[in-house]
Symmetry: C2
DNA sequence: ATCCGGCCTGCGGAAACCCGCAAATGCCCT
DNA sequence: AGGGCATTTGCGGGTTTCCGCAGGCCGGAT
């Protein structure tokens, strides 16, 4: 059994390697990659079936790397080990995990025992393990947003990237009015009105983005990925339009 | 000499303590705080003159903590030790550092030697030390934005929080037209138009925020702090209006 | 069958945003 | 003093956003 660690922080990497050595004595080789790209390369080369992956890394982040790895070898088991429990990360992962695979999500603040357990459950037994704190994001005393629809989330991301109503409509295949309806429900769920004491009227669109960021419904990492997709869509549109 | 470490990541804290012990043999006591609040308390209690501070911490971040510490004891020397080199952090720090004090800014990716040197230069010699990579943020292949004015930056933050033109004008003491002029120059500097291929017209306001985030001119941490100030300003306005 | 709730769509208008034009102010430099 | 140069402000109008009203489609519960 070969295990790949993808982690760009040297201290975390050292700790992780140590724990993996203890938790998985059947691992005859432990490879370390220091960002998403390296991780993809190593996974491809080493025919690796078990991965522990950090999410936040400079350059290529963990979700992007996981996507390409799973596309090439869907049975790969991946344990995500991250500092954050943002809704955006969860959404990103649950969207791309293949049916035949196992994955886990453990916070870096978890105890050594918890990490140990998760390593065995996911990488050896092939189970699905998600830290409870992650799933209901209790930490940072942030009350979870009333859950968003897929459509609402898609519109939120597009708006956060700076698309106009017309562009969102075009991209999502809706009418402009529908986009605006999604926006209305977003304004509601994100509590955009809350600060409106009297004559103070905010720019709801920007306020919604700010609230979504504050509540960690979206995060800059996810936006970066979405921006890439947007750019690709844009060139496709330009070609079609010409 | 007493040294206070403020760092919420246990692995980083362990490494930091070790390095400080080696670099500063004159330190007869090394105290560890695990977030900004604890840091303030310890600094107050221990009559501490030298601090190494992480910037990103859950709860109260390093900049907020540094501000209150410097307000109470302006001669305190603080070395910031951070993962990031965002413009927003730099701006936040240079805005609050007192004249009579020394500070430094070192990236966590710096070598042990660099950290060692910075520890001695800042905490013992009282010099100002800033990692070169930080000051011109070359990393992440992000080309720095043509530097923003203070006024532009203030408007950008307000807009990112979701304020309308009128509110920004009121808060910054400008006319609405001036706010819009600042916005125009922001749209220019942040290259908001770049994606406008043909009929694709973006929402410039939201796009500007997205660009600023992507270029790391602002970051969610700084926005969180700014949101707090905004809330305080709002209640003040409400009282005055009534 | 009927009703209910959710999502989609068009219409129309108030408000906000975006911005060119032009005049006023202030600062620096010669 | 006078000539740039940047910043501020008002005016006016084109565009976009925001949203109530009203109607259509659809799946599920009564």
């Amino acid at each position: 059994m070969k295990v790949l660690l993808v982690e760009d922080d040297q201290f975390h990497a050292a700790y992780l390697r140590e724990t993996v050595q203890k938790a998985l004595p059947e691992a005859e080789e432990i490879v370390l990659a220091r960002d998403g790209h390296q991780g993809e390369t190593e996974a491809r080369r080493g025919a690796i079936g078990a991965i522990v992956m950090d999410l936040q890394m400079r350059g290529r982040n963990g979700i992007e790397a996981a996507r390409t790895i799973w596309r090439e070898r869907p049975a790969t088991r991946i344990l995500f080990w991250s500092n954050y429990s943002d809704e955006a990360y969860l959404r990103g992962i649950s969207r791309i995990v293949p049916k035949e695979s196992a994955y886990g999500y453990v916070l870096k603040t978890a105890s050594n025992d918890r990490l140990h357990l998760a390593l065995r459950s996911v990488l050896v037994e092939g189970q699905i393990v998600v830290d409870r704190e992650v799933h209901q994001f209790q930490q940072r005393q942030i009350r979870p947003v009333e859950v968003l629809t897929e459509a609402e989330y898609a519109v939120l991301v597009d708006v956060s990237l700076g698309l106009s109503d017309r562009m969102v409509a075009q991209r999502q295949g809706m009418s402009m009015r529908t986009v605006q309806n999604r926006l209305l429900s977003l304004y509601d769920k994100l509590e955009v009105e809350r600060a409106a004491d009297g004559d103070m009227q905010m720019n709801k669109r920007s306020r919604a983005v700010a609230r979504a960021l504050a509540l960690r419904v979206i995060n800059p990492e996810a936006l970066e990925t979405a921006e890439g997709e947007l750019q690709r869509w844009l060139v496709r549109q330009a070609r079609q339009g010409a």
